[in-house]
Symmetry: C2
Subunit: 211 residues, 2 copies
DNA sequence: TGTACATCAGTGAACGCGCGTTCACTGATGTAC
DNA sequence: TGTACATCAGTGAACGCGCGTTCACTGATGTAC
């Protein structure tokens, strides 16, 4: 069975996966419609008909890209904040550690982070059907849910200062990442994003830690 | 003279301006390369050759769009923060008032803010030449300069808590706007952006206002 | 005031290239019995 | 173990359409003298 084979030794040279990888790089650089099937197959080394074996049309490529991105995104966040909690049992301190590690991860990328597919797609959303736009929204709602849960949990042990807008504070994580990626790209400065994440951490601390 | 005529009564039906207006809407919806010259001239009611009278090629359209956007952006910000200062002589309180007005302005837009051309272009920057990318960077550096100056000025009168990263705090304004626009678009929720701006205001207050 | 010329804001027709998509076909591997 | 059939992962050639760009030309308005 192909399935079980893939489980024990995932083929890194899987053609479909390579198409998606090359496509993501190209789309983040030029946008979806400027990314031609022609250039993807040239990079991967198959013919055009080979492409249409894997994706019935270009829209299905977009959908597969989005699904791949979402899965990756979830894996990375799960891992980081889980590690933050392992080192600490208080939800606030675990969160602060997680944010620190997140900032460090952004800092240690070889060069400027290539960007976020969700942002790229959202600025081209008229190209896509509702299904893809919904996937994109789902990804962002997952960020909101993840951070919102954490803030609520922290608040049960650490009374917050004032009456903060918890939903907006949860969204602020995704907001700063998306915005930080844009500034980092436009100014070609890889330090911008991690520093924004650290400011978010400062803000969280200012809200929950007694002075 | 055409110039003086335009000064006394700016032609609102100026063809070139209408092309730029229509182009901006289309680019924010689909991206630059999916926006065809054909659709622009159809919307404005001229022929293709008429388009090439105004712009020597498509790249020059992009440049003109960027310049128009930068000028508009500067005008709006100048006006808002000037009004904030008029009502108040302390630089901190003037800033807080300006931020409040800024948030209100975002809130009162008819529907979801259409987005930021700088963000759209930055996720397609391989389509453009260095001149356009530099214009984009210049626009963002102007935000940084504007907010950085203000923070420095405030700090002379209100000693900040801790050792804040003022550059990152200045960038945070643009970051939250860019990120807030993306979330707002993806979730079709026009309240997200203004609430992020209000959080920024809370953060500024937390840094500078004694408890 | 009239004439000659220049500029402005376009028109109309044609171009060639690259794009996404389709269709009939194929060689290698997997599965049933 | 051999044979028949099915599926996988593509190939190769052709398609038509839309795109950005070019070129020669034009009618209306402005300017010099």
């Amino acid at each position: 069975m192909v399935q079980s084979k893939m489980l024990q030794a995932p083929k890194t040279t899987d053609t479909r996966e390579r198409l998606l990888e090359v496509a993501e790089t190209a789309v983040l650089a030029k946008g979806f419609s400027a990314t031609s099937i022609e250039e993807l197959i040239a990079a991967v080394g198959i013919t055009k008909s080979g492409f249409f074996y894997h994706f019935k049309d270009k829209n299905e490529l977009a959908k597969a890209m989005m699904l791949r991105y979402l899965a990756h995104d979830q894996r990375v966040l799960d891992e980081i904040f889980q590690r933050g909690d392992e080192l600490n049992e208080d939800p606030l301190h675990g969160f602060l550690v997680g944010l620190k590690m997140f900032a460090e991860m952004m800092q240690n990328l070889p060069d400027v982070h290539p960007g976020c597919l969700a942002a790229s797609f959202c600025y081209q959303d008229h190209l896509f059907d509702k299904e893809i736009r919904d996937l994109n929204a789902k990804g962002i709602l997952r960020w909101r849910g993840r951070f919102r849960e954490r803030l609520d949990l922290i608040a049960t042990r650490h009374p917050p200062r004032g009456q903060p807008d918890f939903e907006a504070m949860a969204d602020m994580a995704a907001t700063l990442v998306e915005g930080g990626l844009i500034l980092g790209r436009a100014l070609r400065d890889a330090t911008i994003l991690p520093r924004q994440v650290l400011l978010y951490r400062d803000f969280i601390r200012a809200i929950f830690v007694a002075a």
